[in-house]
Symmetry: C2
Subunit: 418 residues, 2 copies
C-alpha cells in the first residue's frame, strides 16, 4: 500500500472510532486512561529497551545533545507519563455539558451541548512523552487521535502505542481511537494535513519551521503556536518591588520557554528611577540589554536595539528594551511587535490596568503577574495540548475544552415554525 | 495601483481600524448603527436610483429572474435594512465580557475576556441588503469589515457604503472600519482570502460553488456553510400528530432554505402505521418521495431512491425516505449522509431523545421540533452572519458571539512562578 492509501486507511478508521469515542461514557474513558497508566508502568522495561534502541540510533546519526535529551526516557520519565494519564482521568469530562438553555417565544428551548471535535491529528518531534500526553487529552475529550511523532522516536512511540491500545481494548473502546503513524516518510505529514474528510484539526508541536510548513500545507484547521515574544510593561504607576520581581521571574527563571519575556517596556516618567534597578538585576543575571536611545542613555551598558530586536523571540539571555510615553504607546508597540502570546503590565493604576487588559490583542494579558504563568497547568486546565497564538477557536493554552466544540440543541414539544 | 496592492492597502487600513473598533465603547458603536439606519432612510431615493441602475444593467445582461429579484431594492426593503441596524444596536455588546475568573493556588486570578476577532472579510452575491446586515454585525462585535459583494450590485453597495461611512464618522469611529471593495475583478477575492496578516476570518455567503472555491484558496479561517441536507427521524415512540406537523413544516413550509428537511427516516416498527399518513401529506403537497425498498412497498407511489439521493440537498419538492431499524441506525445513517446542518427526532422516548441529541454530529440537533427553527433569529441571536456546518470555532447559526473570541486574562498582585 502506498503512503497516501495508508493514511486514508488510518483516517477512515479514526473517523469510525471517533463515533464510538463521542458516545463513550466518562467511566469507560477514565477506565482506559487508568489502564494505560498501569500498562505503561508494567511495561517500563520494554519502553526503556525500545527507547535505548532509538537513542543509540540517534547518537550514531549524530543528533544534537538537546534532541537526544528530549528523546531519552528514564524510569522517572515513565512514571511521570503514567501520572499524567491519571491526572487527565481525574479531570472533569467536558463532553455532553449542556449550557445556556433558554426558552424562545416559539416555545422551543435552545441551548448548546459540548461535543468532541472528532479526529485530532498531532504532529510532534522526537519526544516520546507527547505520545502518552496527547493520547490522554484526545481520549478524555472524546476524540480519536492520529499521532505522528518524530521518526527518531519510532520504537519508543510504538511501545507506548501498544500500552495505549491495550488500555483502550480493556475498557471496551476501539483500539483505533489512538493510532500512531508508523511510516517515517515525511510525505505522510502532507497527507495527514490534507484529509478534511477524516481529520478535523491538526495540532503541530515543535519548532517554528515545522509549524509554518504545516500551516501552509494544511487543508484542515491548525491549532498553531508560533513565537512567544512576550512583553513586560512597567507603567507610570508601577510598584517598583513588583516590577523587579515580575521582570526577574518573567525573563530569567527559564530562558528557553515560550512564555519567557523577551521585551521590556518602561514608562518615561519612571524610566530614570526604575530602569537602572531593573537593568542592574538583568545584568547581574547575565542578560544582555538591547535598548532604544533613551534606554542606552539611562543604562550605559545597553547595546542599541534594532527594529528587528523588538520582533525577536530570543530564547536566550538577551532582552529588548524601550522607553514609552504611557500605556497607550505600550499597547501600540505590543500590538505591532508582539507574537500575541502573553504580555503583562505592572501598575497600581486601575484605569491603565483595565485598558491594557482590554486593548492588548494577545492570547494572555496579565496585570501584576509574571508572563511565566501562561501555561495550562498554572491556568487550571489540568494539562495542555499546546498554546495557540491564533484568534480563531481556542486562544492561549489549549486543554480539554479546546479539543471540543459546541453544537446547538433544541428541545421541543411538537413546535413548528410559523 | 494593481489589484493586489489595492487589497493590501484595504487590508492594512482595516487592521488599523480594527484596533479602534476593539476599544470602541458600546455607546459609540450603537450611535454609529443608529446613525447608519437614519442615513439609509434619508438616502432612500439615492439608494433606489443606484439600485435601478444595477438592475437595469443586470436585465440587459440577461440575469436570471431569481437573481434580479434578490438584487432589487424596494422602499420596504430599505426600511427593513434600517430596522435591522436598529435591532443590532439593541443587542447586548459581547465585547469585554469577563467570565470564569478563578483564583489559582499561585494566588493569581485566571479568567477569560471576550474580544473581537479583528478583521472579517465577507464575500457575497448580488444582495445589497447583506452589505448593511454584515456591516452591522461586524461593527457591533468590535470588528473591522471588508465587504466584497456581487459585481452586479456595485452601485447599490457603494450607496449603502456611503451611509455606513457617514454613520461611523458621526460616531467618531474610523470610516475604514467598513470598506467595500470597489473593483469587480474576481482576482480581488483571491487576494482577500490570502492575507492572514490583515484578515482574521472569511465568511462566504452564497452558492456551494463560491464557498468551495473560497475554502480551497483561503489561507485564513473560513466560516463556511455548505449544504443543508437535513433529516427528520420518526422514532419507534413518535407521537404521530407531532410527526405529521413537524415533517409538514420541515419539508413543505419553504422548499429552498438550508434548514428544509431533505430526508425522512422512519423506524421500522411504526413504518406501516405512520408512513402512509406522512406520505399522503407529502404527496398532497406535491412532494415526490424517493424511498428505499421498504418505503416503496408501503407507499406504492414512491420512486426508488439511489445512494446519491440520501446525500442530496434537493431544495425542491422531493424528499428521500428510508425505513431504519431504530434510533441507532437512524444516527448512523445521518452521520454518514447528512451535511451536518440540522436534524430532528420525533419521539416520546427519553433515552432515544438523549441518545439522538448526543450522538448526532450536526450543528443543530433537535427533539420534537421542526428543522426550520435552525436560524439566528429563532435561536435568539438577534441576527446571523451565516450558518456554519464546520465544527471548529462556531457551529450552526453564527451571530455576534461567533464573530468574537476569548483571550485569557490574569489578575495578579505581584505573583511570580515558582
Amino acid at each position: 500500500m502506498n503512503i497516501k492509501d495508508t493514511l486514508q486507511t488510518i483516517g477512515h478508521a479514526a473517523r469510525e472510532a471517533s463515533r464510538d469515542m463521542a458516545r463513550a461514557t466518562t467511566a469507560s474513558k477514565n477506565a482506559a486512561l487508568l489502564a494505560i497508566a498501569k500498562n505503561i508502568r508494567a511495561s517500563a522495561a520494554t519502553l526503556l529497551s525500545a527507547n535505548a534502541s532509538d537513542v543509540s540510533k540517534a547518537q550514531q546519526a549524530g543528533l544534537e545533545p538537546a534532541m537526544i535529551d528530549r528523546l531519552t526516557l528514564t524510569p522517572s520519565g515513565i512514571e511521570a507519563m503514567a501520572q499524567g494519564l491519571e491526572q487527565v482521568a481525574a479531570l472533569p469530562d467536558p463532553v455532553g455539558e449542556i449550557t445556556d438553555l433558554k426558552r424562545r417565544p416559539s416555545g422551543i428551548q435552545v441551548g448548546k451541548m459540548r461535543v468532541p471535535l472528532g479526529v485530532v491529528g498531532i504532529i510532534y518531534e522526537a519526544r516520546p512523552n507527547v505520545t502518552a500526553d496527547a493520547a490522554a487529552l484526545c481520549l478524555k475529550s472524546g476524540n480519536a487521535a492520529i499521532l505522528r511523532g518524530g521518526s527518531e522516536a519510532l520504537q519508543s512511540n510504538q511501545a507506548i502505542a501498544a500500552c495505549v491500545r491495550a488500555g483502550l481494548k480493556s475498557a471496551g473502546l476501539p483500539e483505533t481511537a489512538v493510532q500512531v503513524i508508523e511510516t517515517t516518510d515525511r510525505e505522510a505529514v502532507g497527507h495527514l494535513v490534507s484529509m478534511p474528510e477524516y481529520v478535523d484539526v491538526i495540532v503541530p508541536r515543535g519548532g517554528k519551521g515545522l509549524i509554518e510548513r504545516i500551516s501552509k500545507e494544511a487543508r484542515v484547521p491548525v491549532i498553531k503556536h508560533l513565537d512567544g515574544n512576550c512583553h513586560v510593561y512597567v507603567d507610570t504607576a508601577a510598584d517598583p518591588i513588583k516590577a523587579l520581581a515580575i521582570l526577574e521571574n518573567a525573563k530569567t527563571q527559564r530562558l528557553g520557554t515560550c512564555n519567557t519575556a523577551e521585551s521590556l517596556l518602561v514608562a518615561r516618567s519612571v524610566a530614570t528611577t526604575q530602569l537602572p534597578i531593573l537593568a542592574a538585576m538583568l545584568m547581574k543575571k547575565g542578560v544582555e540589554i538591547r535598548g532604544c536611545e533613551e534606554t542606552c542613555a539611562i543604562v550605559p551598558q545597553a547595546k542599541p536595539a534594532t527594529e528587528e530586536d523588538y520582533a525577536t523571540e530570543y530564547l536566550a539571555a538577551i532582552i529588548s528594551c524601550k522607553v514609552v510615553a504611557d500605556v497607550g504607546e505600550a499597547i501600540a508597540h505590543i500590538n505591532r511587535y508582539s507574537s500575541a502570546h502573553t504580555e503583562t503590565i505592572v501598575t497600581e493604576d486601575y484605569t491603565n490596568a483595565m485598558r491594557f487588559l482590554r486593548e492588548v490583542d494577545s492570547s494572555s494579558v496579565m496585570v501584576n503577574a509574571s508572563t511565566r504563568f501562561a501555561d495550562g497547568f498554572e491556568y487550571g486546565l489540568g494539562a495542555e495540548i499546546g498554546i495557540s497564538t491564533d484568534k480563531f477557536h481556542a486562544r492561549g493554552p489549549v486543554g480539554l475544552e479546546g479539543l471540543t466544540s459546541q453544537k446547538w440543541i433544541v428541545l421541543g414539544n411538537g413546535e413548528v415554525r410559523s
